[in-house]
Subunit: 210 residues, 2 copies
Amino acid sequence: MKFFDCKTAPSARLVRMFIAEKDLDIETIEIDLRSGAHLQADFKEKNPHCTVPVLETETGLHLTSSQGCWRYLEAHKPSAPLLGTNPEEKGLIADRIWRIDLDGFYAIAEAIRNELPGFRGRALTGSINYDQIPELAQRGAARTAHFLDTFEAHLLGENDYVAGANFSAADIMAFVTIEFAGWIKLELPPSAERAHDWYKRIKARPSAAL
Amino acid sequence: MKFFDCKTAPSARLVRMFIAEKDLDIETIEIDLRSGAHLQADFKEKNPHCTVPVLETETGLHLTSSQGCWRYLEAHKPSAPLLGTNPEEKGLIADRIWRIDLDGFYAIAEAIRNELPGFRGRALTGSINYDQIPELAQRGAARTAHFLDTFEAHLLGENDYVAGANFSAADIMAFVTIEFAGWIKLELPPSAERAHDWYKRIKARPSAAL
């Protein structure tokens, strides 16, 4: 198995943390996005979408999303379970992951890629160059603020973790997303005390240092 | 169990088809999006994000995304399997679903909701009103065209189904997305013969009539 990573990419960090929580030892290849390694022909053969993460399985299959990598690794090494062990857990974890990905992670990416000069002409990941849309950067920031403001009420609730009593991949998704929001200087509101306690608990895990 | 559906919403159709393929009989409640039933307090209590689909489980948990509903239902009734039975299948199906959702389904929604007069001030689903961004409608249509143009090469490949030799939820995601693209009059290119054959095979399934 091979893991194509990029230390600075939150998308790849989702898989890096998952691998660490599974205590798996996987050969890791660093893809330097800044020098455009992901747009070169040899990488494009592995992933036509030109993004990290990519996981190459033992049979040579290339999985090119955090979700594909997570599902493969969960089935490959079921312990510790990160995607749930019964219908309710499995459903709620998947639900939270999808919601945080769309309303949090994707909104932050919109805010960043449509504003920072370094992403001019590269407002979306992938093989096609799209121009920045300044209004979309503003909307992305507004959506991110709403995501952070409602995180405690809508996603954490009365639970210790994002999908209930146990740590799961939904916590990885939420933690990486909230640290990603720091790139545009947005954070959990000070009043969200339970959310801050949760954040500190995740931050203390060894996988969070990766 | 209760399924909150809307006959005209592609997001809900994803779950409707999945339920039919599982041969499950679930009490279904129609939510009339046109009259704003999803924005009323009683529905918002079930789903603060004000969207369909919603699945209410037997313990009263509310799952508010196709992904949450699918994972719950797959664990609740494992046959026929729609999310894979071994690590490679599970990984690839999840990978395809995520990709089609983001590059296809979401791009089409961007194109539609940022252009049609009926969505003025409602460019995103949810409880917050966002203005339309005309440039985003154009970008959404361009992304949709790229998705359809590369569907055969990137997603179907040499396989009979989107994630390999067997029908899976990735086919549901692709089929519903391709029919959704019809709303903006975009379709698979005539040259994509294998993709058209695949489409006809899915269209012939009883679940596709729902």
